[in-house]
Amino acid sequence: MDSSEAPAHRPVTLDIDGADETLEASVPPQTDPTEESIDLDAEAFVSPQDDSSHSESLVDKLNDQMMESVMISDSPNSEEEDVVPIDSLLEQNEEEEPKTPDDADTEERIEDVRNKDVSAAEPEEASGALFKEENEGEKIVQVDDKRETVAPDDPKPEAPKTQESALEMDSDSTPKDEAVPVCTIFSQGVQLKAQALIPDGFQPTLVKSPSFTIGNTETPNKLVPQVCQPSPSLSKFFTDSSAVNPASDFFDSFTTSTSFVSISNPNAESPKAAAPPESPLVSAPTAAGTYFTPVATKPQVAPAEPMNKLQAVFPSGDDPFGSALVTSDLDKRRDAWLPSEDTRRVLISVATQQVSPVQIDREQLAMPGLKFDNLQGDAVKDLMQRFLGDQAAMKRQVLSANSVEQNFLGLKRLISTKNWRAAVDLTGRLLTAHGQGYGKSGQPTNHTTDSLQLWFVRLALLVKLSLFQNAELEFEPFGNLDHPDLYYEYYPTVYPGRRGSMVPFSMRVLHAELPQYLQKPQETLDRLHRIKSVCQKILSNLQEGLAEDGSMMNLTQDNRLASIQLWRSRLSRVMYSMANCLLMMKDYMLAVETYHSIIEYEPEQRVQLLSGIGRIFLQIGDIRTAEKYFQDVEKGCQSKGKTANEDTSVLMNRAFVYLSQNNYADAHTCFSSVLELDPKNPVANNNAAVCLLYLGRLKESLGQLESLVHKDPALYLHESVLFNLTTMYELESSRSTQKKQALLEAVACREGDSFNVQCLKLV
C-alpha cells in the first residue's frame, strides 16, 4: 500500500548530537549536501501556531461544520528577487481587495495579516526576517532555557543517563554526559485556552472572511441585543397570565389542529378556564377534580416510600372512579419516567392532597420564559441584497412566522420547508400566548403537554441552527427536567389519573446533548448516563412484570412487549448520543466500544455501524483495524446474499481504504462503481469528484459537481457539496465570486431561512 509513495520517503534524520559524521551518515547519498543542516533558528521553536490540545476537539468539530476557507495564499505578484518576508497567506482575490491597489500597500497588508497572527498566538515573525543567520551558541542557550522551565525533571547525570534525543538538536559539540537539551515546541501550555475556538493550523492567517472564523461565537453575540427586546406587539397583547392561571390551556392538543385556539383568541388571557379542554388526546373524564375522595387519600404514605405507593393511591381500587381514569396505554408508556427522590415526595404529597401546588416552594418549580425574541432574519436574502441587489432579493420568497397559520400546523409547515428561524419565532409567539413569553422566566406558570412540546421544538430548532448559547439560556429554567410541576401528577385536576413526565423523552436527550456543543462534553456524558440508567431501570421493571415506574400494575402482554420495545429503542438512542459525544471528544476507543454495543439493540444497523467504526479507525490512521471492520461488513453481506445497498457500502468502504493509502485513482474507481449500482448516490458522486481533484483533474471534478448541483438541487444543495464546489471555484479562477453568486441564486429558490450560507464562502 505504501509502494506508491515509497520513493518519496527518505527517512528524515533527526540529529541528536550534531556530530558531523553522524549527520553525513544519515543523509541519503543522493540528497543535497546542505540538506540536513537543520535550522535551529530559535524563533522556530517559539513560533508554532500551537493550537493546542484535545480540549479543543469539540470546537474543531463545530468548526468543521463552519467550514473555513482553505486556500494557501500569497501576496500578489511580489517581484522581489530574493526571498522576502511575504507571509500573507491570505488568498488575495484581486477584485475584492479595494484597499490594496498597488504594491506599495503590500507591506501594510502583511502587517495586517501579522496582526491577525498575533491574536492567534503566533509570537514570532515580528522581525519579519525569515532566515536568521545562525548563531549556534545563542540558540542552544535559548533552547536550554526553555527546557529548564518546561522540564523540571531534568535528568541528572546519574547512573542510567537520560539522554534526550531531541529530534533535531543541532551541532553542539559536547554530546557526552550532559543531557542533550530537548526542544519542546509546544510546551507553552498557556496558549491552550486562548485558542479554544481556533481549529488546527495556520488558520488565523488563512481565513478568508473574518465572519467565518468567529462564526460560531459570533452568532450568539449578535443575538444579544435582541435578547433585551421583548416583542412589543405580542407581549402587550397578551397580558400577564402567569401566577394563578389554573392549568387550563387553550391549545392543549396539537394532534387535532382544529381544537387549537389561535393566539388572538381572548381565551388566552382568561384565567377562568379552569376545566380541562376537551381534547381527544388527553382522555380526561369530565368528572375531573372530583375523583379524589378524602378517604382514598389519607396521607399514610411516608415521604421516602417508593413510587408504587403513590400509584396505589392514584387509581386505587376502592375508588370507583379510579379505573375510569386510566390514561391510554400509549401515553403511559411514553410518559413514564422515574422522578428523583425529592420530586417524588412532592408529587406524593400533591397526590395525597397534603400540599396544594400553590404551597410548593417556587424554587422547586420550572419557570421557563423566552430569553430572546424574534431572531428572525434570512441570511440568504441578506446575501442576495448584498451581492445581487435589492431587486433580486425581492424575488426571494420564504415563509415567515406571519405567513402561516398561528398554530401547530403552521409550525410544521415552517419546519418542513426548512424555515427554522421563522419556526422558532412562531414557537415564541405560541409560548407567549401560553404565558411563558419574554421576561416570564422565573414566574410561576402551568405546564401542559403542548407547552412542553413547544419548548422542545423551539430548543431543538435552536440546536439545529447551531444557536447553542440561546438554547442553553432557555433550557436553564428547566433545570434537570425533574421539577415536580413537569409531571402530570402535579395537576390532578387537569390531568386526572395521568402519570409520568410531561417532558418528551427527545427533549431530555436534547438537553443532555446540548452541553457538548458548548465545550462541556463531560456534562453531556453525565446527563446521558443519568437518562441511560433510568431507561435501564424501566426496562428491568418491565422485565420483572411491573409497570414502567415499578408499580404493581397488570400490563397486557402486548402492552408490555410494546413498552419494552419503546424503551429499548430509547436506550439505543441514548447510547448513540453517548458514542457521538465520545467521538467528538476524540475518545475513540470508548466511542468504538459504545457504537459496537448498539448493534445489539439495532441489529439492522449492523452494516452501517461496523462501517462507521471502520471510518473512525481510518480517521485515527489505523488502517489495518479499519480493514478488519470492513471485512466484517463484507462477510455479513456475503452471508446474507448481497443486496445492492449492502454492496454499495462494501464498495464505499473499499474506496475509503484506498483513499487512506493515498491511492486516489482506485478510490475514484470504487466510488464510480457505487454510482453504477446507485447512480443517484450523492455521497459517491461528491466523493468521486473530490478524488478527481486530488488526481489533479480540477476541471473534471468541478464539471461533475456543478452538473450534479444543477441537475438535482434537492440532493446536492447541501452545505458539504457546496463547500467543496466553492472551494474548487476559488482554486480554479479569479472569478469565483460570480460563480458563487450563481449558486446563491440556486439556493435562494429552494432553501429556507435556515440555510447555512457560510458554505458559499461569499463573505
Binding site: 551518515a25 513560533s47 505578484n77 533535531e168 427527545s506 475509503f656
Partner: protein, 429 residues
C-alpha cells in the same frame, strides 16, 4: 523581471492601478487529506409535536448515513478547510493551478514551483517543459508532493512566465509561506543490565519516550529500533501468550495529543563485539529509532532519530562486579557475597580492600586487607561476609580499593541490593 513597469498588455487596466493585470491567474491550495463530514442529529419520536418531520429531514439530508441517521460520522468527503499544520516527516502536497482568465490564447507557459527552506531550494514541479498554449478558461494543473525534512519556515515559490498574443513575454511569481513544526518529542534513556553476574552478556536496555506534540491523535504504525552493527535488538513492546502477541499498549493504537508512550528495547552486543572487560570504552553507537505514524485518513509521517549513543559504563581502572549474591537475606544474619575485581588498566596494581559500614550494612572480617598484585586484565574473586541491621531493600555500599602504587582509592557504592526480611514471627503469636 520588472513586471511592475510593463503595462502595455493590460489595456483593460484601471487607471490608478499600478499593479499588473496578468492574463493568467495562479492558485495554490494545500491538499491535506479530505475530512469526513459530521452531521448533527436532532431527533424526536413519532408522537412528539414535529411527528416524523425531524426524521424525514435527516433522511433527506445527503450527508447522513442511510439507515443509521443518528451516527454523526458520515461518508461525505469535504475538501480541507484550512491550511492546517504541517509536521516534520509529513508530505506536503499542493495543488497548483494556472488559469487563463483572459479571453485570448496565451503561449509558452512555464510554471515552476520551488520550495525554499532555510538551507536549500528544491524544485517540485512535475515537469519543467513549457506548455505551448492555453486557451481562455483553461488551466494547467499540477499536484506537487514533498516530504518535509526541515523544521521552520518554508516558502513555496511559484513562478509563471508566458507570452501574450502580442508576443510580449510576461512573468510573475507568488510566495506561499508556511511553518513546519515538530511532531514528536523523543527522549531516550539507557539502562545497563543491573547485575553483571556473567559479564559476557552486557545487555543494555533502551527506554524511548515518544510524545505526540501535535494537536491531533496519531496512530503509531511503527516504532522500531534499528541497531548498529554491534548489537542485536529485542523489542519488548508486546507480551506473547499462546502464540498471540499482544501489544503492551493494549487496544490503544494511537497517541492523543501530548500523550507519551514508552517503548523498551533490549540490546545485546553481538558475540564478536561482546563487551569484554575494558575492551569497549567510551561512546558506542547503539542504533536509531525509526518512527512511522499516520493521522487523519492515512496522512503519513516518518522520522528517524539520529544514531543514539551510549556511554559504555565507565569501569575506570578497576572494575568491581558481583559474581554471587543472595536476593533475600535475614535481618542481622551474616550472608556471603562474592566480588570479582578486574584490573582494567594497563599497569599492574597492588590492591588493598577496605570495608566501611553504612547505616544498614555491616561488614564482617578485617578491613584493610592486602589483595596482592593484579596484572592488567586479570581478575580475582573474593568472598565477603556482611549483615544488615535494617529491614527492606538495602543497598550494598562501602567497599574501597586502594592501589598502593599510585596511592589512588576507588570507591564502590551501590554495588547491588538485597532484600532484608525479618525471620522471626511477631512476638504476639
Amino acid at each position: 523581471m520588472q513586471v511592475k513597469g510593463q503595462s502595455s498588455a493590460a489595456d483593460k487596466m484601471e487607471v490608478n492601478q499600478a499593479k499588473q493585470e496578468h492574463l493568467l491567474a495562479l492558485k495554490v491550495m494545500r491538499l491535506t487529506k479530505p475530512t469526513l463530514f459530521t452531521n448533527m442529529p436532532v431527533t424526536c419520536e413519532d408522537r412528539d409535536l414535529p411527528g416524523d418531520l425531524f426524521v424525514r429531514l435527516m433522511k433527506d439530508d445527503p450527508s447522513t448515513v442511510k439507515g443509521a441517521e443518528t451516527l454523526i460520522l458520515g461518508e461525505m468527503l469535504t475538501l480541507p478547510q484550512n491550511f492546517g499544520n504541517i509536521f516534520l516527516g509529513e508530505t506536503f502536497s499542493s495543488y497548483i493551478s494556472v488559469h487563463n482568465d483572459s479571453n485570448q490564447i496565451v503561449k509558452d507557459i512555464l510554471v515552476k514551483a520551488d520550495l525554499q527552506t532555510s538551507s536549500q531550494r528544491l524544485n517540485l514541479s512535475a515537469s519543467n517543459s513549457a506548455v505551448s498554449e492555453l486557451k481562455p478558461e483553461c488551466c494547467i494543473d499540477d499536484v506537487i508532493h514533498h516530504e518535509v525534512k526541515e523544521i521552520g519556515t518554508h516558502i513555496l515559490v511559484c513562478a509563471v512566465s508566458y507570452t501574450t498574443q502580442m508576443g510580449e513575454k510576461l512573468y510573475f511569481r507568488k510566495f506561499f509561506k508556511f511553518q513546519v513544526l515538530k511532531p514528536l518529542d523523543v527522549k531516550t534513556k539507557f539502562y545497563n543490565a543491573e547485575s553483571d553476574l556473567s559479564s559476557v552478556t552486557d545487555e543494555v536496555f533502551l527506554e524511548a519516550q515518544i510524545q505526540n506534540i501535535t494537536t491531533s491523535p496519531m496512530f503509531m504504525e511503527k516504532v522500531s529500533l534499528e541497531p548498529s552493527m554491534m548489537y542485536n535488538v529485542t523489542e519488548l513492546n508486546s507480551v506473547s501468550s499462546d502464540n498471540e502477541s499482544e501489544s503492551t499498549f493494549g487496544k490503544m493504537s494511537y497517541l492523543q495529543p501530548l500523550d507519551t508512550r514508552q517503548y523498551l528495547y533490549c540490546l545485546k552486543p553481538k558475540p564478536e563485539f561482546a563487551e569484554k572487560a575494558g575492551v569497549i570504552k567510551g561512546v558506542t553507537v547503539i542504533g536509531k529509532l525509526d518512527i512511522v505514524w499516520k493521522t487523519n485518513l492515512g496522512e503519513r509521517g516518518r522520522l528517524q532519530t539520529s544514531q543514539l549513543q551510549r556511554m559504555a559504563p565507565g569501569y575506570g581502572d578497576v572494575r568491581l562486579s558481583l559474581e554471587l549474591i543472595p536476593d533475600t537475606v535475614s535481618l542481622e544474619e551474616p550472608f556471603d557475597i562474592t566480588c570479582k575485581i578486574t584490573n582494567c588498566s594497563e599497569r599492574t596494581m597492588d590492591l588493598e580492600l577496605e570495608m566501611c559500614n553504612t547505616r544498614s550494612v555491616h561488614w564482617c572480617g578485617v578491613s584493610g586487607r592486602q589483595l596482592g598484585k593484579l596484572s592488567p586484565n586479570a581478575s580475582l574473586s573474593i568472598p565477603l561476609t556482611l549483615l544488615s541491621s535494617v529491614q527492606g531493600l538495602q543497598s550494598i555500599s562501602g567497599l574501597r580499593l586502594t592501589d598502593t602504587f599510585l596511592k589512588r582509592t576507588y570507591e564502590y557504592d551501590d554495588i547491588a541490593q538485597v532484600c532484608v526480611v525479618c525471620p522471626y514471627t511477631s512476638p504476639e503469636s
